[in-house]
C-alpha cells in the first residue's frame, strides 16, 4: 500500500493536516481527566465554587477545540483520500489503455473492471481511515501513559504491563481471523458464481431436470459458508470480552495500589479517578484500532491487486508520434514469412504466411474453427506483434507506424458487435470525430443499416443503451460495419462480421462494399464459402498454415482443403456455378 502513497503527492498539506488535527484532538481529550482531578482535589476539597466554574469552562473550551481540530482532521483526510483515489483511478485507467490485446487476453477484462472500481474504492477508504484514525490510537495510548507518568511513576507500571497484553489479544484475534475472513469471502464468491451459472444455464438445467442436484450443490456451499462464519465469529467474539477483562483488572490494581499510595500521601483521590479514566480511554481507542486494522487489511489486499496491474506493461511499443509516409507504389498489405504464437500456447498459431494484397483488392480468408483466421487479420492493425517475419502496410513495417496513424488506416469490424452508450451518431464518429452526417449516412447505406436507422425515432440521435442492448443482434452488427467505414479507411477488415445477418442482407452488404468503396482493400474472414467466393484472392488456412491462395476457381480445382470446405456447404453444381 505504501507504494501507492505517491498518489498523495499532490495532497501533502492535507495528508499532514489530517493526522495533525487528530493529534491535537487527542491532546485536548487527554487533558480532560487532569482538569477533572483538579476539580475534585482543589475545587471540592477547598469548596472553591468559582474554581469549579472556571475549570468547567476549561472543559467546554477543550471540547470546542477538540471538535474544531477533529473536524479539520476529517475534512483534510477526506480531501486527501478522495484526491488519492481520483488520481489513482485516472492513472490506472490510462495505464490499462496502453495494454495491447495480448495483455487483455492474459489478464481478462472483467478483473480489470473490478480493480478499477471496487479495489480502488477499498484502497481509498483505507487511506482515509489511515489518515484519520490510525494515528489516533497511538497518540491516545502514548499520551495516556505520559499523563499517567506525570501523576505517578509507580502506578504507570500497571499501564505498561497491560498495554502489551491488550496488543497481544488484538494481534492474536486478527492473526487468526483475517485468513478465515478471506476464506469466507472466497466461499461467498463461489455462491455468487453458482447463482450466476444457474441463471445463465436455466434452460439446460431444466431441460435435463437437474434442479434438485443444483439445489443440493448450493445448499452444500451455504452450509459450509455458515460453518465458517460461525467459526470465525467464535474467535473474534473473544476479543471484546478479553480486552474488557484486562482493562478492568488493571483498573482494580489502580484502585488498590492507588489506595495504598493515597494512604501514604503519594497521590490524591482525584488523581486515582484520572488514572481510571486514562485506562478507559486506552481501551476505547484500542478497540477502534482493531476495527481499523480490518479495514486496512482489506485495503492492503486491494492495493496489491492494483499494483499487480501497474506492474504489467504493454508488450507493444509505440514508435512515437512521427508521421510515416507510406509508399504509394507498394501493395496495401504484405505478409512476409509471418509466424505468430500467443504467449500462453507453445504451438505457433500462424506459421509461414506469405501473401500480398494490392490496393483495392478484396481478400477472402477461410478455414476451419481455430485455424488462425482472426489471428491473421489481427496482425494488420498490430493488435499483436508477430513472433517472426514481418507485416507491411503500404510498404512500411506496421511496427514503424505510430498507433494512431496505423489504426486510422485500418477500419476493423470485430466478431463481437460492440457498441457504446450514446447516440448512433456518436458511435459512428469513433474513427473520425468530425465525420459529417452525410458521410455517416453513406457508411450506413453501405452497411445496409440506413433503413432501420432512419426508422428509429430520432434517426442518428437515437440513444443506444450500454452495449447497444436496445438493438437486435443483426442491427448491432450492421452498425459496427458502418462504424468501420466512416472516414474511408484504406484497409477494411470484416472478421466474420456477418454471422448475425441473414443471407440476403449478407449478400447485399458484400455487393455494396464491392461497388461503393473504390480503392479500399477489403479483408473478409468467413466460414461461409458464399461470402468469399467472389474475392480477388482467397487465402485458405489450415491449422495455422496456408493451404492455398488464389481465386475460387483456381482453389476449387487445386486446393483439396478448399474443395472440401466447398463441398460441405454447397452441391458440386452450386460450387462450380459462377456467381
Amino acid at each position: 500500500m505504501v507504494k501507492l502513497f505517491r498518489y498523495l503527492k499532490n495532497y501533502k498539506i492535507e495528508s499532514i493536516l489530517g493526522p495533525l488535527g487528530k493529534f491535537l484532538e487527542a491532546i485536548f481529550e487527554l487533558i480532560v481527566p487532569i482538569v477533572m482531578a483538579n476539580i475534585i482535589d482543589i475545587g471540592i476539597k477547598n469548596s472553591d465554587k468559582p474554581y469549579i466554574y472556571r475549570m468547567c469552562g476549561v472543559l467546554v473550551m477543550l471540547g470546542v477545540l477538540g471538535l474544531a481540530a477533529s473536524l479539520t482532521a476529517q475534512y483534510f483526510a477526506a480531501k486527501a483520500a478522495v484526491g488519492f483515489g481520483t488520481e489513482l483511478r485516472n492513472d490506472l485507467f490510462r495505464h490499462i489503455n496502453t495494454f495491447s490485446h495480448a495483455e487483455i487476453d492474459k489478464i481478462g477484462s472483467s478483473t480489470l473492471v473490478t480493480r478499477m472500481t471496487v479495489d480502488i474504492n477499498t484502497a481509498q477508504t483505507g487511506v482515509n481511515m489511515l489518515l484519520r484514525l490510525f494515528l489516533r490510537a497511538p497518540f491516545i495510548v502514548i499520551g495516556a501513559v505520559i499523563m499517567a507518568l506525570s501523576i505517578s511513576v509507580k502506578l504507570t507500571l500497571i499501564f505498561l504491563a497491560s498495554i502489551p497484553l491488550l496488543c497481544a489479544v488484538i494481534w492474536y484475534v486478527m492473526h487468526r481471523t483475517v485468513p478465515m475472513y478471506k476464506k469466507i469471502q472466497k466461499k461467498l464468491d463461489k455462491t455468487t458464481l453458482l447463482t450466476g451459472e444457474n441463471i445463465a444455464g436455466v434452460r439446460v438445467i431444466r431441460a435435463f431436470s437437474r434442479q434438485n442436484d443444483e439445489e443440493k450443490d448450493f445448499r452444500m456451499e451455504t452450509e459450509a459458508l455458515q460453518i465458517m462464519q460461525v467459526g470465525a465469529g467464535k474467535v473474534s467474539a473473544v476479543m471484546s470480552p478479553l480486552t474488557y477483562v484486562i482493562v478492568n483488572i488493571a483498573t482494580m490494581l489502580i484502585i488498590w495500589c492507588g489506595g495504598i499510595s493515597v494512604d501514604h500521601g503519594g497521590i490524591t483521590q482525584g488523581e486515582v479517578i484520572a488514572l481510571v479514566n486514562y485506562m478507559t480511554q486506552i481501551l476505547l481507542s484500542l478497540i477502534r484500532l482493531a476495527e481499523l486494522i480490518q479495514t486496512l487489511t482489506k485495503a492492503q489486499a486491494s492495493s496489491l491487486r492494483i499494483l499487480e496491474i501497474f506492474d504489467k506493461s504493454s508488450s507493444l511499443t509505440d514508435e512515437g508520434s512521427k508521421h510515416i509516409t507510406e509508399n504509394a507504389e507498394a501493395p496495401a498489405v504484405e505478409f512476409r514469412n509471418v509466424k505468430f504464437s500467443y504467449v500462453s500456447s507453445e504451438r505457433d498459431s500462424l506459421d509461414d504466411i506469405n501473401f500480398t494484397a494490392a490496393r483495392g483488392e478484396t481478400i477472402g480468408v477461410i478455414g476451419g474453427t481455430g485455424c488462425g483466421k482472426s489471428t491473421l487479420v489481427n496482425l494488420i492493425p498490430r493488435f499483436y506483434d508477430v513472433t517472426g517475419g514481418e507485416v507491411l502496410a503500404g510498404g512500411v513495417n506496421v511496427k514503424d507506424y505510430p498507433f494512431e496513424q496505423l489504426r486510422a488506416m485500418v477500419g476493423i469490424v470485430p466478431q463481437k458487435a460492440v457498441l457504446f452508450k450514446g447516440t448512433i451518431r456518436e458511435n459512428m464518429q469513433w474513427r473520425d470525430k468530425n465525420a459529417a452526417d452525410e458521410e455517416i449516412m453513406k457508411a450506413l447505406d453501405i452497411a445496409q443499416a440506413l433503413d432501420f436507422v432512419s426508422q428509429k425515432p430520432k434517426g442518428l440521435d437515437y440513444e443506444l443503451e450500454q452495449g447497444g442492448r436496445n438493438l437486435s443482434g443483426g442491427q448491432k452488427q450492421r452498425l459496427t460495419i458502418a462504424r468501420a467505414l466512416v472516414g474511408n479507411p484504406e484497409i477494411l477488415i470484416l472478421d466474420d462480421s456477418a454471422s448475425a445477418l441473414d443471407l440476403a442482407t449478407d449478400a447485399a452488404l458484400r455487393k455494396a462494399i464491392a461497388q461503393k468503396t473504390e480503392g479500399m482493400t477489403v479483408f473478409i474472414v468467413s466460414q461461409r464459402v458464399s461470402s468469399i467466393r467472389n474475392a480477388d484472392k482467397i487465402i485458405v488456412l489450415d491449422d495455422g498454415r496456408m493451404a492455398g491462395i488464389g481465386t475460387h476457381e483456381e482453389l476449387f480445382d487445386n486446393c483439396e482443403v478448399y474443395k472440401e470446405i466447398c463441398m460441405s456447404q454447397l452441391t458440386a453444381e452450386e460450387a462450380k456455378k459462377n456467381g
Binding site: 477533572m36 471540592i44 466554574y53 468547567c56 471540547g63 471538535l67 476529517q74 478522495v82 483515489g85 483511478r89 485507467f93 490510462r94 490499462i96 489503455n97 490485446h101 477484462s109 472483467s110 472500481t117 474504492n121 482515509n128 455462491t191 458464481l193 444457474n198 445463465a200 434452460r203 431444466r206 431441460a207 435435463f208 431436470s209 434442479q211 439445489e215 455458515q226 465469529g233 478479553l242 478492568n248 483488572i249 482494580m252 484502585i255 489506595g259 495504598i260 494512604d263 500521601g265 479517578i273 481510571v276 479514566n277 474453427t369 489504426r407 460492440v418 470525430k433 454471422s499 441473414d502 443471407l503 440476403a504 449478400a507 458484400r510 461461409r528 467472389n534 470446405i565 456447404q569 456467381g579
Partner: protein
C-alpha cells in the same frame, strides 16, 4: 424525513416474513436478548463499584482497606459476568444471523429454480444475483446484527437512566435535558450523509458503467485508437465523483467528533453540578466519578442507534427485495395426475397455437404443425420470426397462450415438465457449461454414467481429440462459462452432452453455428445415425445444414409461410428459394 413514510411502510412489509426465518432460532435469539440485559446491567454496575471504591480512598491515612477488599471482589465478579455474557451473546446472535441467512439464501435459490422462464428472461442476471448475495448479506450485517445493537443500545439507555436516577435525581435531569442536542445533531448529520451518499452512489454507478463499457471492450477501444477520448470521458466522471465523495466522506465522519463534543458538554455539566453538590454535602466524590463515567457512555448508544436505524432501513429495503424473489409465484406446479412421459412414439402435433411475450406485440399466431415419427423438421426464417420461441413452447419453458401442443398424442400441458423435457435432447446456440470437469459436464444429464460411455459420447461429438490434448484430459476443470475453450469447442461439448443422454427426440437450435463446416458434416453423420427413427427439430442459418430435412418450415413473423422439402420449396420459387439463392449473389 417527510418522504420516508411510504418507503418505510413498503419496507416494513418485510418484517413479518423475516420473523418467520428467525423462528427456528428463537431459542438463540431469546438467549441473546436475555444475555444482553444481563450484560448491560453488569456493565453499568461496574462504575458504581469503582465509585464506591474511590469514596473509600479519601486522603492520607483515610483509606478504608477493609471496605475496599469486598468491593474489589464484587468488582471482579462483575467483570467476569460482563465478559462471559458478552461472549455468549455474540455467539447466539452469530448463530441466529448466519443460520437464518443460510435458510433465506437456500429458499431464494430453490425458488429461483422453480420460477417461470419468463421471470428469468425478463430480469437482469446481475439484479437477481445481487438479491441473493449482497442483499442477503446486508440482512445479516444490518438487520440481525443491527437489531442486536439496537436492543443493547436501548437497554443501555434505559439502564443508565435507571442507575443514575437511583443515585441522584437532579444530575440525572441535567443529563436528560441535554440529550436532545445529541439527537438533533445525529439526525442532522445522518440526513446530510444520506443525501451525499445517495449522490455518491449514483455517480459511482455511472463511473462503474463507464469502466465496464470501455475497459470491458478494451479491444474495440484500441482498434479505433479511441484511448484519448475514453480517458477524457473518464476524467470527467471521475472528477464529479471526487467532488461529491469529499462531501459524503466528510459528513459521514462528523458523527464521532460531534458526539464526543456533546459528551464533553454533558461531562462538564455533570462536573459543575456534581462538584457543587459534593461541596453541599449531598453527594460523594466516588459517585461523581461514577456519574462521569455514565455521562461518558450515555450518548454513545444514541449515536449508535441513529446509525443502526439508517442501516436497518437499508437492510429492510434489501429484505423486501429478497422476499420479492422468494415470494415470486413459481411455475404452475404439475397436476397431481399429470402423465409421466416414458415411451414416446415421436409424433408432435400443434394445433392453433397462439403465443406472445408481450400481449401488445402478437408473435406466434394460428400455428399448426403435424410431425410424424422419425421426421427431421428444419425451421428457417429471418431473425425474430419466432423460431426460438417455438422451441420455448415445445420444451414448456413458456406455455402457449391458446391452442395445444401434444407429444405422442398427449397434450404437453397434461404431462409433468420433467418427463416432457427429458424426452428432448436440446443443444442451443448459447452454449452453457458448468464450472466443473469436462467429464462432469458431458455426463450432466446422466451423472452416474460410466467413463467409457462419456468417452464414447465425446468421440461421437468429435471432441475426444481436443479433450485429450488438455492438461488433465477429461478431468480438466473448466472455469466460468467455458473459460479458455473456443466457441466451437464449447458447442462440441454440448453436443457430446446430448449424445450421452440419447433422448428420443432432438432439438438443435443453431447447434453447430460455431463449428467449421467440415467437422459439422462429420457430426451431422453421427447425428443422423443416432437420430435414426427419432424425431428432430433443427434451426440453422446455414442452409446447407437443413437441405436434407424431411420437412422445412419457413417461418416469417410468427407464421409458417411455406412448408415442404428442399426440392419442393425451390420449385415453388417463393420465400425460401429467394433466401436460398441470395447466398450466391454477389
Amino acid at each position: 424525513m417527510a418522504k420516508l413514510p411510504v418507503k418505510q411502510q413498503g419496507s416494513a412489509s418485510a418484517v413479518k416474513p423475516l420473523l418467520r426465518y428467525l423462528k427456528p432460532y428463537r431459542k438463540e435469539l431469546t438467549a441473546a436478548l436475555v444475555l444482553a440485559v444481563i450484560n448491560v446491567a453488569a456493565t453499568l454496575y461496574a462504575p458504581i463499584l469503582t465509585g464506591h471504591a474511590v469514596d473509600l480512598i479519601i486522603a492520607p491515612g483515610k483509606v478504608d482497606f477493609a471496605g475496599l477488599k469486598p468491593l474489589l471482589v464484587k468488582f471482579a465478579v462483575t467483570i467476569v459476568i460482563v465478559a462471559l455474557s458478552q461472549y455468549a451473546m455474540t455467539l447466539c446472535t452469530n448463530k441466529t444471523a448466519f443460520s437464518a441467512v443460510k435458510d433465506l439464501r437456500n429458499d431464494a435459490f430453490a425458488n429461483l429454480n422453480r420460477l417461470p422462464l419468463r421471470y428469468i428472461d425478463s430480469h437482469p442476471k446481475g439484479d437477481i444475483i445481487s438479491r441473493l448475495i449482497s442483499d442477503i448479506e446486508q440482512i445479516s450485517d444490518g438487520l440481525i446484527m443491527g437489531f442486536a445493537q439496537l436492543f443493547t443500545g436501548v437497554v443501555t439507555i434505559v439502564g443508565t437512566l435507571g442507575f443514575m436516577l437511583s443515585i441522584n435525581v437532579k444530575i440525572t435531569l441535567i443529563v436528560v435535558v441535554l440529550t436532545p442536542i445529541s439527537l438533533f445533531a445525529a439526525r442532522y448529520i445522518a440526513n446530510n450523509t444520506f443525501k451525499f451518499f445517495k449522490q455518491q452512489s449514483q455517480v459511482r454507478g455511472e463511473l462503474t458503467a463507464f469502466v465496464e463499457e470501455m475497459t470491458g471492450n478494451q479491444k474495440t477501444v484500441k482498434a479505433f485508437a479511441h484511448e484519448d477520448e475514453a480517458e477524457e470521458g473518464f476524467g470527467e466522471v471521475n472528477q464529479r465523483l471526487s467532488d461529491v465523495s469529499v462531501s459524503a466522506i466528510f459528513f459521514s465522519s462528523m458523527t464521532n467528533p460531534v458526539t464526543r463534543f456533546i459528551n464533553g458538554l454533558v461531562y462538564a455539566a455533570v462536573g459543575i453540578v456534581g462538584a457543587i453538590s459534593v461541596i453541599g454535602g449531598h453527594f460523594s466524590v466516588g459517585m461523581l466519578s461514577c456519574f462521569l463515567t455514565y455521562a461518558n457512555q450515555y450518548t454513545k448508544p444514541f449515536n449508535e442507534i441513529s446509525g443502526v436505524i439508517t442501516e436497518l432501513q437499508g437492510a429492510l429495503a434489501c429484505a423486501k427485495r429478497v422476499f420479492e424473489l422468494i415470494d415470486e409465484p413459481q411455475e404452475i406446479p404439475d397436476a397431481e395426475d399429470a402423465h409421466v412421459l416414458t415411451e414416446v412414439d415421436g409424433t408432435m402435433h400443434a394445433e392453433n397455437v397462439y403465443f406472445s411475450y408481450d400481449p401488445k406485440v402478437p408473435l406466434i399466431e394460428e400455428f399448426n404443425l403435424d410431425v410424424k415419427p422419425g421426421q427431421r423438421i428444419a425451421i428457417v426464417g429471418p431473425t425474430g420470426c419466432g423460431k426460438t420461441t417455438f422451441i420455448n413452447l415445445l420444451m414448456r419453458f413458456y406455455d402457449a397462450d391458446k391452442g395445444s401442443i401434444s407429444v405422442s398424442g398427449l397434450p404437453i400441458k397434461s404431462c409433468t415438465r420433467d418427463s416432457l423435457r427429458s424426452v428432448y435432447g436440446m443443444v442451443l446456440q448459447d452454449t452453457w457449461l458448468k464450472t466443473g470437469t469436462i467429464r462432469e459436464n458431458i455426463s450432466y444429464a446422466r451423472p452416474d454414467a460410466e467413463f467409457k460411455d462419456v468417452e464414447a459420447a465425446a468421440k461421437a461429438a468429435y471432441c475426444d481429440g481436443f479433450i485429450r490434448r488438455l492438461e488433465n484430459g477429461y478431468d480438466t476443470v473448466i472455469t466460468e462459462d467455458g473459460g479458455t475453450l473456443s466457441a466451437g469447442q464449447k458447442q462440441l461439448l454440448c453436443i457430446a452432452r446430448v449424445m450421452l443422454a440419447l433422448p428420443p427426440m432432438l432439438i438443435l437450435d443453431e447447434a453447430t453455428s460455431s463449428i467449421d463446416t467440415r467437422t459439422e458434416i462429420l457430426i451431422q453423420k453421427t447425428f443422423n445415425k443416432m437420430m435414426e427413427g427419432r424425431t428432430s427439430f433443427i434451426i440453422a442459418h446455414r442452409l446447407s445444414t437443413i437441405k436434407e430435412a424431411d420437412c422445412i418450415l419457413v417461418m416469417n413473423a410468427g407464421h409458417i409461410v411455406e412448408q415442404g422439402t428442399h426440392g419442393e420449396l425451390m420449385a415453388k420459387e417463393g420465400f425460401y428459394a429467394k433466401l436460398y439463392n441470395s447466398q450466391f449473389e454477389s
